[in-house]
Structures are given as structure tokens and as C-alpha cells.
């Protein structure tokens, strides 16, 4: 495929100048260039973000009124099930893999990922399992309705009596997603551990690389447990084994254990790269080195280690014995320590800095604020008595939406704005970016804050119909949700418009320190470097006037050099 694009550029017999040699068709090809694959991941997953967003609009539309009057209840069940599934497996995981795909090899001074073809296969599985999941709308009985946890015995019901039911396709999609993610995990861990450029020691890696390494290690040891659970549930559903069927001696709680053994660490798979993005962005726009770089790096690994021992906090109400509750309450609270270290480091970085409030910085700051809020409710939920009280209520929904939307999506937006000039070679429109930020920040808080009082007052999650006294906060939340839906419009206009006709981006529009900013925008060749960078210093050397690499001028063949 690489050769193909080379041949095409010869055929056109035009000089491949930076930014223009790119044929848009390569984004639809089986390219093995990590930069192309990164953008493929980001664009594909953003499409599914919009799909999952439409599902959310249906849910919030239904909840505008206390009665179940907008959609059929089975449709409502399918909506919240697929909303969760799509947002996690088809938006946050792949978009972060896309960002990592684009950035990690450049950041560590590698030419590409360790296994470029495996990388491309892993990407192309994303649209495949996306289609499998969406196809469940077409089968008898409709899509899966058991929520994204897919707890038995609800999930092992098969009222339509068909082999290929919505739940079957859900399980198949999750299994395929797992295979894709394991391929990615093997690739990232090998790349980061084995392909660092000369001088790129562990304690010179940007925090984003540290967090991607941590997140992918979590995928590697967590995902197989989910795969095992999915295989067992698949057999229960199709051939009638009794792994999770209590009537025949099975144990439904075992599914919960296997599911959460992966799916709690999965939260860290999502949030760790966001921590990395925050750590990359704050120093650039505050013009200060990252506060406590080494401690921030190590705290990522601490989160990896601890996250293997916290999963039961999702199961405090699942007949869990007392000693287990105590143990997991303690470990859950403990994991807030490395997280708190990071928050402290970011505040220390911003403190007294010369802030430039670009769209990326605004999203970073907004994400940080919402993350701190979700951290406080997280500590509340870690305490067993509080958790039992608000278990399965909107309080939990509000908490994790502050994490997943407030911190994660805002962090992803920050990253997209920050690296957009590098990826596309064009500048985005700052005004539209700020409008996008305002709509997102207001919309997210309007949408997700009301869920906390609702949950404390006892409104259960996953209901289509609720008591009239909950109406006020639900209407507020729905207005916020529609505002969030609207917020994607200026973003889309900005991204598409700027990519087509934005102002040409220089190499380093933000005066950022980082090896990706030493390459042209976008980097010209499949192999990132003509000459591998030789790293001399820790990242984030703002105000230190020490060179990052020994050979900044020979990294790339550019027009000027010729």
C-alpha cells in the first residue's frame, strides 16, 4: 500500500511537497502508516460517537416527561444498552488508540509501530464489529437489551428464540473488539519497550507515552477475562450450558466478577491516556515544565497495579461478603492517591504560569475541573454505606458521565485541537473552537449535574418512566443533553472546514517542546524520520533552554534542505 501511494505520486509527476503529496484515498486503504491509521481510528470512532450520541438523545427525549411515551420500552432498553456499548467500545477506546497510534511512535522517535500490518488489521476490525453491533437492529427481537454490563440472567434470555439474536451479536462484537484491542496492546507495548530512539530513556518519555503504555498493559491483562466471560455467556445463550444459570447450578455472580475484573480497569484504559493528554497540554499553554514529571510517570504504573484489585466495588450490592467489601473499599480509596498526585501536579503546572487560553487549553482546564468533581463523587461511591444507598441510581450515572464525558471527551477534544495542525497541516478556527468549548462545558454540566440530586433522591437508572417529583431535574438534564448534541456541530464545521481550507500550519504553531513539533505539519513520509532523533533531555523543558534532541535539523528531508 505504501508502494501504491508512492507510485501514484510518481504518476502525477508532481513534486510531493509537505501537505500536498497526500492523497485522500489512502485514508480509505489498508495503509500500514501509523499516521494514516491514527487518523482512520479517530474519524471512524467519531462517527460512532455521533451514533452513540443519537441514542443518548433518544434516551433523554424519553426522559423529558415522567411517562414512557416516546419510544417502545424494548427500544428504550436497546438504546441505553447500545449507547453504553458504542460509547465505550466504538468511541473512547478506538479514538484514544487512534491518538496513541499517531503520536506514540513519533514521540519515542520510532519510524512506525512495531507491527504495521497488525496495526492495520486491528484498525479494520473496528468498522467490522461496529457493523456487527449495528446489524442487531435487523435481527428478530432487536438489539441487546441487558445494559452494557450484560448481566445474566437478563442477558441470557432469548424471547425471540433465534440463534442470531441481538445479544448474540452483542457478544460477537465485544469478542471481536477484544481481539482488535489485544492486537493493539501487543503492538503498543512492544513499540514502547523496544523501539525507543537513542537517548530516549524511560524517564525521558513524554507522559502521554507512559500513560499509553500503562493503559495498554491493562488491556493485555484485563481483556482476556472479559473474553472468557463472553465465551461462557455465548455458550449459555446458544447451546444451553449452565455457567451463569442459577436454576441449573450456575453462578451469575461469577460473570460479574469476570466482567468487572476487566471493565473496571477499562475505565483506567480510558482515563490514563487522558491524564497523558492533560500532562502534554498544560505545560505548553502554561509555559512551565510539568510539575513532578517522574512522580506523575510512576503514578501511572501505580494505577495499573492497584486497578487489578478494585473491581468488586461495582458489586457491593451483589451479595458480596463483608470482608470483601472492606478490602475493596480500602483499595478503591487507595487508588485515588496516585490520581490525586496527578491532579496536584497539573495544578502545580498551571499555577503561576503564563496561560494561553486556546481551545485546547480551555478543554484541558474544563476537563480537569470536571474530573476533580467526578473524583469527589468517586470517593463517596467507594464508601460501602454510600454505595449501597445510591447503588443503581442516577448518582452513579452522573458520577461516571463526569469521568467519561467531563474528563475523557473534553480531554479528547483538547488533544484533537492541540494536534490538529500537526495531523492535517492546517490551523483550526479558534472562534468556533471556543464556541464549541462553551457549548460543551455548559451542556455537560447541565446534563450530568442534575443526575446527582436525582440519584440521591432515589431515581433508579435505566428506567423509561419515573415518579413525577423527579421531573424538574430530568428536564434540565435533557436540555443539557440536547445542548451537548448541538455542540458537535461547530466542532464538525470547524474540523472539516479547516482541513479543507484552513490556514497552513507551521511546524510548531504552539511553540511546544516535543519531537513531533520538529517535523513538518503533517510529517511527510511513511517513515517518520530520515535520521533517528537523539534525545538529550527530559520532556517539558520550558524555560530551561536545553535542547530536546541533538539533531533537530536532520530529522527530516524537507524542501529547505534540498
Amino acid at each position: 500500500m505504501v508502494n501504491l501511494s508512492v507510485k501514484e505520486s510518481i504518476a502525477k509527476s508532481e513534486p510531493p511537497s509537505p501537505g500536498e503529496h497526500e492523497d485522500w484515498r489512502r485514508f480509505f486503504s489498508f495503509s500500514t502508516d501509523h499516521k494514516v491509521i491514527g487518523i482512520q481510528y479517530i474519524v471512524t470512532s467519531f462517527f460512532f460517537f455521533l451514533v452513540g450520541g443519537i441514542f443518548a438523545m433518544v434516551i433523554r427525549g424519553e426522559l423529558m416527561t415522567p411517562e414512557a411515551d416516546l419510544v417502545d420500552r424494548t427500544v428504550y432498553n436497546a438504546m441505553f444498552t447500545l449507547h453504553g456499548t458504542v460509547m465505550l467500545f466504538l468511541w473512547t477506546f478506538p479514538v484514544l488508540v487512534g491518538l496513541a497510534n499517531y503520536l506514540v511512535p513519533i514521540m519515542i522517535g520510532a519510524q512506525d509501530m512495531a507491527f504495521p500490518r497488525l496495526n492495520a488489521v486491528a484498525f479494520w476490525m473496528v468498522p467490522v464489529f461496529g457493523v456487527v453491533l449495528m446489524a442487531s437492529f435487523l435481527v428478530p427481537g432487536g438489539p441487546a437489551q441487558a445494559g452494557w454490563w450484560s448481566y445474566p440472567p437478563v442477558s441470557t434470555q432469548n424471547p425471540a428464540g433465534v440463534l442470531v439474536s441481538g445479544q448474540f451479536l452483542w457478544l460477537l462484537a465485544i469478542a471481536l473488539s477484544g481481539v482488535s484491542s489485544i492486537m493493539g496492546g501487543v503492538n503498543f507495548v512492544t513499540t514502547i519497550l523496544r523501539m525507543r530512539a537513542p537517548g530516549m530513556t524511560f524517564f525521558r518519555m513524554p507522559i502521554f507515552v507512559w500513560t499509553v503504555l500503562s493503559a495498554q498493559m491493562l488491556q493485555l491483562f484485563g481483556l482476556p477475562a472479559l473474553t472468557a466471560a463472553v465465551i461462557m455467556q455465548m455458550f449459555d445463550l446458544t447451546v444451553g450450558t449452565s455457567f451463569f444459570d442459577p436454576a441449573k447450578g450456575g453462578d451469575p455472580v461469577l460473570f460479574q466478577h469476570l466482567f468487572w475484573f476487566y471493565s473496571h480497569p477499562a475505565v483506567y484504559v480510558i482515563i490514563l491516556p487522558i491524564f497523558g493528554i492533560f500532562s502534554e497540554i498544560f505545560p505548553v499553554y502554561a509555559r512551565k515544565p510539568l510539575f513532578g514529571y517522574k512522580v506523575v510517570a510512576i503514578s501511572s504504573l501505580m494505577i495499573v497495579g492497584l486497578s487489578a484489585f478494585v473491581w468488586v466495588h461495582h458489586m457491593f450490592a451483589s451479595g458480596t461478603p463483608g470482608w470483601m467489601r472492606m478490602l475493596f473499599m480500602f483499595s478503591t480509596m487507595l487508588i485515588s492517591v496516585p490520581t490525586g498526585i496527578k491532579v496536584f501536579a497539573w495544578v502545580g503546572t498551571i499555577w503561576g504560569g503564563k496561560l494561553r487560553l486556546t481551545s485546547a487549553m480551555l478543554f484541558g482546564l474544563g476537563g480537569l475541573i470536571m474530573f476533580v468533581f467526578s473524583g469527589i463523587t468517586g470517593i463517596m461511591l467507594a464508601a460501602v454505606p454510600v454505595d449501597i444507598h445510591v447503588n443503581n441510581t442516577y448518582f452513579v450515572v452522573g458520577h461516571f458521565h463526569y469521568v467519561i464525558y467531563g474528563a475523557t471527551v473534553m480531554g479528547i477534544y483538547a488533544a484533537i485541537y492541540h494536534w490538529f495542525p500537526k495531523m492535517t497541516g492546517r490551523m483550526y478556527n479558534e472562534g468556533l473552537g471556543k464556541l464549541h468549548f462553551a457549548l460543551t462545558f455548559i451542556g455537560a454540566n447541565l446534563n450530568f449535574f442534575p443526575m446527582h440530586p436525582l440519584g440521591l433522591a432515589g431515581m433508579p437508572r435505566r428506567v423509561a418512566e419515573y415518579a413525577p417529583e423527579f421531573a424538574f431535574w430530568n428536564v434540565v438534564a435533557s436540555i443539557g443533553a440536547f445542548l451537548l448534541g448541538m455542540s458537535t456541530l461547530p466542532f464538525l464545521v470547524n474540523m472539516i472546514g479547516s482541513w479543507i481550507q484552513g490556514e497552513k500550519a507551521p511546524k510548531n504553531p504552539w511553540r511546544a517542546i516535543g519531537v513531533e513539533w520538529l517535523l513538518s505539519s503533517p510529517p511527510v513520509h511513511h517513515d517518520n524520520f530520515k535520521e533517528l532523533p537523539v534525545f538529550l533531555a527530559e520532556p517539558y523543558g520550558y524555560g530551561k533552554s536545553e535542547p530536546l534532541v541533538a539533531n533537530p535539523d536532520t530529522l527530516e528531508v524537507t524542501r529547505e534542505l534540498n
Binding site: A114, F115, R194, G222, T227, K530
Partner: protein, 204 residues
């Protein structure tokens, strides 16, 4: 100027003149394969954990009419599979010493032992009085042995590919990654079986 600009793009992917670019593709496949196997082992660990939970908590563990599993035939199977790990090592040594026929004979012997294991498993399965859907015990038994058997089958297929490749002249001159990875996979399948044998057959 135009021609000099085209040049680097044309030559960069393959050109040995760009020394760093050529060195940038060393062999990381074995490292990646080990990472994959570590991850794969967690699937088995999950099944083992599930088995232990079921074994210790299920009130009527064995299905009605089943008194236990016969250990003798599986024990023979175990001996064959574990020995094959040593045989494959001998094959690897022969390949390392560039003795291709020695490699092929011992490699083929490994395959034969793997196929014997699968055959023994099939004979055992066909003689059992319970099926996949007979309670948690039946499900767990067939899930574990079946998932492991699938890995043995994969191992034999990989071995077949590597055997075929030994007839391509010069195939193993530069890299023995294929055989080394297959052999590692074989040892992995072996170790999993030993744990599985202890859990299912010894601990009854």
C-alpha cells in the same frame, strides 16, 4: 530541485543507503509473541478461576450417574504431550545446527505426539456419560478441555506450516522466529495442560 525532492520519497522505504531507516526494522516479533502469550494465559486463568469457584461452591457438582473421571487414559495422554515438549526442543537444536533432516524428523515426531493427544482426547470425549449441557461440571469440563484442545490443534497447524517452510531453500538461514515461536507456543500449551490435568483429573 524537483527531482531531488522526489528522490528521498522513492528511495526511503527500501534504500540501504539510509542507514537509520534500514535499522529501524529489527525483529521484535518474538517479544510481541511473548506479550501475546502472557495475555492469552489470562483467558485460561479466568477459566481456571471459574472452575475453582464452581468446584468449591456447586452443591451437586457431578451430574447424576457420574462418579468421577477415569484418570488412566488422560495420564498417558499427559505423558505424551509433556514429552513432546522435549522432542520439539531436540528438533530446534537440530535446526540450530543446520541439520534440516534431523529437524524434520523430530519436528514430525512432535506433530505425531500432538495428534495422538488430540486423538486420545476425542476417544475420551466420545466415551463420557455426560455432555456439554449437563450441569456446571459438564460445561466446565468441555470448556476447559475443548479450549485447550483448540490450542493443541493450532499448535499442530503451526508446526505443519513450519515443516512446509523447511523445504523452502534458505528459509531458516536468517531467522528461526517461526520455529522458536511455535515451540514456545507448544511449551505454553503444555504448561496449561499440566495445570488443567491437576485441576480436573487429580483434584476430584
Amino acid at each position: 530541485m524537483n527531482s531531488t525532492e522526489v528522490d528521498p520519497l522513492l528511495t526511503a522505504p527500501a534504500a540501504p543507503s539510509h542507514a537509520p531507516a534500514a535499522e529501524a526494522h529489527p525483529d521484535h516479533r518474538m517479544f510481541g509473541f511473548i506479550v501475546f502469550l502472557l495475555s492469552e494465559s489470562v483467558v485460561f486463568l479466568s477459566f481456571f478461576a471459574g472452575y475453582i469457584v464452581y468446584k468449591t461452591t456447586t452443591p451437586n457438582w457431578l451430574p447424576v450417574g457420574v462418579t468421577g473421571l477415569d484418570v488412566r487414559e488422560p495420564a498417558i495422554n499427559t505423558v505424551v504431550l509433556v514429552s513432546s515438549s522435549f522432542v520439539i526442543y531436540i528438533a530446534e537444536r537440530y535446526l540450530h545446527d543446520k541439520n534440516l533432516w534431523g529437524f524434520r524428523i523430530f519436528w514430525l515426531l512432535t506433530m505425531a505426539m500432538g495428534i495422538y493427544f488430540l486423538y486420545g482426547q476425542a476417544v475420551e470425549w466420545s466415551g463420557l456419560p455426560f455432555g456439554f449441557t449437563d450441569g456446571v461440571f459438564g460445561g466446565a469440563f468441555y470448556l476447559l478441555t475443548g479450549f485447550h484442545g483448540l490450542h493443541v490443534m493450532t499448535g499442530v497447524l503451526l508446526q505443519l506450516i513450519m515443516l512446509g517452510r523447511s523445504f523452502i531453500p534458505g528459509n531458516y538461514d536468517h531467522s528461526e522466529y517461526g520455529t522458536a515461536a511455535t515451540s514456545l507456543f507448544w511449551h505454553f500449551v503444555d504448561v496449561i495442560w499440566i495445570i488443567l490435568f491437576v485441576l480436573i483429573y487429580i483434584w476430584q
